[in-house]
């Protein structure tokens, strides 16, 4: 192993493709495991002329950009809906309630929205406003929209083709 990693070396930027090519050559063609490790983990490489370099990957070299990307398609979608209501549940359809909710569901991650609540502070119980996220407030996992339908796919051909047919409950 060469002295590591303190000596100053000239820097060399290379594309992702070039970096991969050299790494492949070191590991699979030359079977130079030590040089491979120095190259991929420490960015240290010695070229064929014996010149050592400190290698940086510049992914913008040799990538597809600008007019190379004229085949890019654009689609649009809606991914989540969040509603906060106080006195109504404006929902269509039957709800299903857990009398005892799953404890695992009583942990919630942030949904990047906050609520202003008033909390009591100090010995004189004065009130102050605080903005907090849903991951800070006690809640119970309550109703969910009812989904009773299940779709099963049966494979009669493979059942007949097989010599054993396992009937599951």
């Amino acid at each position: 192993m060469p002295p590591y990693p303190y000596e100053q070396l000239p820097e060399l930027s290379m594309s992702l493709r070039t970096f991969n090519r050299i790494a492949n050559e070191l590991l699979f063609e030359q079977e130079a495991v030590t040089q491979f490790i120095n190259f991929v983990l420490a960015g240290r490489w010695v070229n064929d002329a014996g010149q050592p370099y400190r290698v940086n990957i510049d992914p913008l070299l040799d990538c597809y950009s600008g007019d190379d990307l004229n085949d890019v398609a654009v689609s649009r979608d809606f991914d989540s809906i969040i509603g906060i209501t106080t006195n109504n549940m404006p929902l269509n359809g039957t709800l299903a309630i857990y009398p005892v909710p799953n404890f695992r569901d009583s942990l919630v991650r942030s949904n990047h929205l906050t609520w202003k609540i008033q909390i009591l502070v100090g010995f004189e119980s004065s009130q102050t406003d605080e903005h907090i996220g849903p991951d800070s407030i006690a809640f119970t996992y309550f109703p969910r929209m009812r989904h009773s339908m299940f779709l099963c796919i049966k494979y009669p051909t493979s059942a007949w083709a097989s010599s054993t047919y396992v009937k599951r409950p």
Binding site: I81, I84, N87
Partner: protein, 319 residues
């Protein structure tokens, strides 16, 4: 979900206590059901404690079950439950949070097609009684994630780090460029660097109220879908490994995980029996669910925006 702000104690776990869960079921939910659906009340456990005993099996495992509330009594149910909640100091000021997550699979459409856009928003909101979303004098608030996804038939796409300001300007057009640039230096802005390549990164930003504008844009998220090849919600091979796992008695596990990673990456190249794993660029914003905002958001994605924000890689180079 019902949230109980009166139970909030700064710095303490938000977990609902057993006593409060019992109070909620025994004094609020079950009596309300008893009033509205007296003929079905025998299906509802007589108490929270009785239900806890019923759903636990001989090995101590819980099996959670649900009971139905038909939609024709939903308004009455909500009103009576509301009154009962307010009768208990710990449940006062509680509010309902309704969440539909992961609906992009059935709401995807061409952004320039008016009919497709209308059909998609109808599909997204089919569970919601639209006319009752914002009753007069209510504090109801609704939000929706609107997203665009850029894809190539044969390339792995990545967002350019030097385009983040341009992306934010596109996502929050009412905000001043200088203000967005300032916001990018705050803690509310996160850069998600891709594979240690600093020139390629997604972003996340919780938008300061000052910049939210009329569309009330609360959150911007920009990422790529290549993580789908390795993303796990459970603890698996694609997790952060710690240095202690390199000790002799643990290292076999690390080597096995590395072999698993290498195998997946190799398959993702498309050089073998499987097609290549490509990557799309996604840009999402969370904004107020109002027709005037949602109808027009992200309908126009210009070639210049694509050229300036995205780069592509051959799958073999990337994986």
């Amino acid at each position: 979900m019902i949230f109980f702000p009166k139970l909030y104690v700064r710095g303490e776990s938000p977990r609902m206590s057993q006593a409060n869960s019992a109070l909620l079921y025994d004094r609020c939910i079950r009596p309300t059901i008893h009033e509205l659906l007296p003929l079905t009340i025998s299906h509802w456990p007589i108490s929270y404690d009785a239900c806890m005993r019923r759903i636990r099996d001989s090995r101590g495992q819980f099996h959670f079950t649900t009971l139905d509330i038909p939609d024709h009594i939903l308004d009455d149910f909500t009103e009576r439950l509301r009154n009962r909640l307010d009768a208990h100091p710990e449940f006062r000021d509680s509010f309902f949070v309704h969440e539909w997550r992961g609906i992009k699979g059935y709401t995807g459409h061409d952004p320039v097609d008016d009919v497709a856009c209308d059909t998609a928003i109808d599909a997204a909101m089919e569970d919601i009684a639209i006319l009752d979303m914002y009753p007069p004098d209510s504090e109801n608030a609704w939000f929706i994630d609107v997203a665009i996804e850029l894809s190539s038939p044969d390339k792995v796409l990545q967002w350019r780090t030097d385009s983040h300001l341009r992306i934010l300007q596109y996502a929050i057009p009412t905000a001043e460029r200088s203000e967005l640039a300032r916001e990018m230096r705050r803690r509310s802005f996160h850069k998600d660097i891709s594979s240690h390549l600093y020139d390629l990164a997604g972003l996340r930003m919780e938008v300061h109220p000052r910049l939210q504008g009329a569309q009330q844009i609360h959150y911007v998220n920009c990422y790529t879908t290549d993580k789908s090849a390795t993303y796990q919600l459970h603890r698996g091979a694609f997790r952060r490994h710690r240095a202690e796992e390199l000790f002799p008695h643990k290292i076999q596990g690390v080597l096995k995980d590395i072999a698993s990673l290498s195998d997946i990456y190799d398959k993702c190249t498309g050089l073998h029996a499987h097609p290549a794993q490509l990557s799309n660029g996604r840009l999402e914003v969370r904004l107020a669910l109002r027709p005037e905002h949602v109808t027009h958001k992200f309908r126009n994605v210009t070639p210049a925006f694509i050229r300036n924000t995205i780069v592509g890689f051959h799958p073999v180079d990337w994986w």
